[in-house]
């Protein structure tokens, strides 16, 4: 019944089946929205945050989605600036993921602040010295860029594309896309970085504090770097998931391979920098404030050395090494393992830089702070996942996200015909209703 909207030359599941999926995701979404409304109406007492845990799961979720959404800016950067043209076959999906991640991040921020009605103060009364201001500005700007990047994709929908204005707009926007992508990369560099700066500038928090250049601590650069390195892994992972769900190959291996290889090398170099940073912090910076590094990983219920090893080795070096080797990338299992580990690794890094920072006591007579999110926090954190499923499902169904899909999954002639006929009928219906438009 919606076949007129489905791109030409591809096969989609039946409409009821599609609605079932949307319904399931919608239910989760509704749960999240309910929690969100509770929080907006009743206030942040609906969470389990406290005065020691002012930043908690939401800020982590924010940082994490932006890190994994980094695939958008980095593949954009690779395609439009570096000129890796193969990536055009995955860039649409990367942009879609980016769009989802960034809109989610903004939504979470709007839930996270105690006075949402005054949220615009961050722009209007901006303190340019604050990393959060930088985050807000760049995040918003880059979200605009992502919207601009996503827009032509939407307009390429079979139905919309028939409207001349939209058709032309798509065309023109594609032509200028390199400019937008470049601006986006520039903005991304800063907001990914400033998110790293958020923790790194806290000179009252020796666990987070890092020295750096100008106003930017090392974490600024590490975050940008890690988003560029790990973001594409999420793009690959999301592609793999979608391929699994649809049962189709959507992107040719060479594209994945290229992205994985670049990602792998980025990760490897990142890990070297990160380990250097960690070592400098552990052996020089923290001791200079009177902290033995062991203190940060002992004497508490949760944060042990395991988290450092997990982040740096198991979810850092291991996936990096897999991805830089040809063999590793060629093996489906190894590749999947690597991207999964990488995504966990970058999320874990964000976790450490938010939640562990809050947990570590600074005054010698203070105690470790522990925190467990309330269901409202969990629901609002899952909300973006449901939202992502819905948006991906709709986009995949109705928009030409994967240029190689038709080629990789040729449909039988009769199917194509039937499909064509159905859509013609639909078109005729529309034409009947609006003869003026057809003439």
């Amino acid at each position: 019944m919606d076949s007129a909207l489905i791109p030409v030359g591809v096969k989609r599941c039946s409409f009821p089946k599609f609605m079932l999926l949307l319904g399931a995701a919608g239910a989760v979404l509704a749960w999240g929205v309910f929690a969100m409304l509770l929080i907006w109406i009743k206030g942040l007492n609906q969470t389990n945050m406290n005065d020691y845990y002012g930043f908690a799961i939401w800020i982590w979720a924010d940082l994490a989605v932006i890190a994994i959404g980094g695939g958008a800016f980095f593949s954009g950067f690779l395609k439009y600036i570096v000129g890796k043209d193969e990536l055009k076959n995955i860039i649409n999906y990367a942009v879609l993921l980016g769009f989802i991640c960034y809109s989610s991040a903004l939504l979470i921020l709007a839930i996270d602040i105690g006075q949402p009605l005054r949220g615009w103060f961050i722009f209007w009364h901006a303190n340019v010295h604050s990393m959060l201001t930088e985050v807000a500005f760049c995040l918003t700007c880059y979200f605009i860029v992502l919207t601009i990047e996503y827009l032509p994709l939407v307009l390429e929908n079979r139905k919309l594309d028939k409207i001349p204005f939209f058709h032309n707009l798509t065309h023109n926007m594609h032509e200028t896309m390199a400019v937008f992508a470049a601006t986006g990369a520039f903005l991304s560099f800063f907001h990914q970085g400033s998110l790293g700066g958020v923790a790194g500038v806290l000179f009252g928090r020796p666990f987070a504090f890092r020295e750096g250049v100008l106003i930017w601590p090392w974490t600024f650069f590490l975050f940008t770097w890690s988003a560029a390195a790990f973001g594409p892994c999420f793009t690959i992972l999301a592609t793999k998931i979608l391929e699994k769900v649809t049962g189709k190959t959507l992107v040719k291996f060479n594209v994945i391979d290229l992205l994985a290889r670049i990602s792998g090398w980025m990760m490897l170099t990142y890990m070297i920098a990160k380990i250097a940073d960690t070592a400098y912090w552990a052996f020089v910076l923290a001791p200079s404030k009177g902290f033995d590094v062991g203190f940060f990983y002992t004497n508490n219920e949760f944060y042990g050395w395991w988290i450092l090893i997990l982040e740096l080795v198991i979810c850092g070096i291991v996936p990096a090494l897999i991805l830089v080797t040809k063999k590793g990338r060629a093996s489906k299992t190894a590749l999947t393992t690597a991207v999964v580990l990488a995504v966990i690794g970058v999320c874990l890094n964000r976790w450490v830089m938010v939640l562990q920072v809050m947990a570590v006591p600074v005054m010698s007579f203070d105690t470790w702070a522990t925190y467990c999110p309330s269901w409202q926090e969990v629901a609002t954190t899952i909300l973006p996942v449901a939202y992502a499923v819905i948006l991906i499902a709709i986009s995949y169904r109705y928009l030409p996200i994967f240029p190689q899909e038709a080629e990789l999954n040729p449909i039988a002639p009769e199917e194509a015909l039937a499909d064509e006929q159905e859509s013609t009928e639909e078109t005729a219906d529309v034409a009947g209703a609006e003869p003026a438009a057809q003439t």
């Binding site: 901006a126 001349p164 601006t183």
Partner: protein, 55 residues
Amino acid sequence: MFPFNFEWIWDISHLVFMGGLWYALGIIGTGMGYCIIKTISDTAQGKGAHHDEHH
């Protein structure tokens, strides 16, 4: 965020930060403005109106 805002100071931080911001917004705005204007003119010229289904 604007020079007439209470918090604005004519100093290096504001010039760099807000300069960067307005520069980026300027590019985005100009780019979109260009696209829209060009599209309007393209559409007015009848481009894309009767384009082939199988282009």
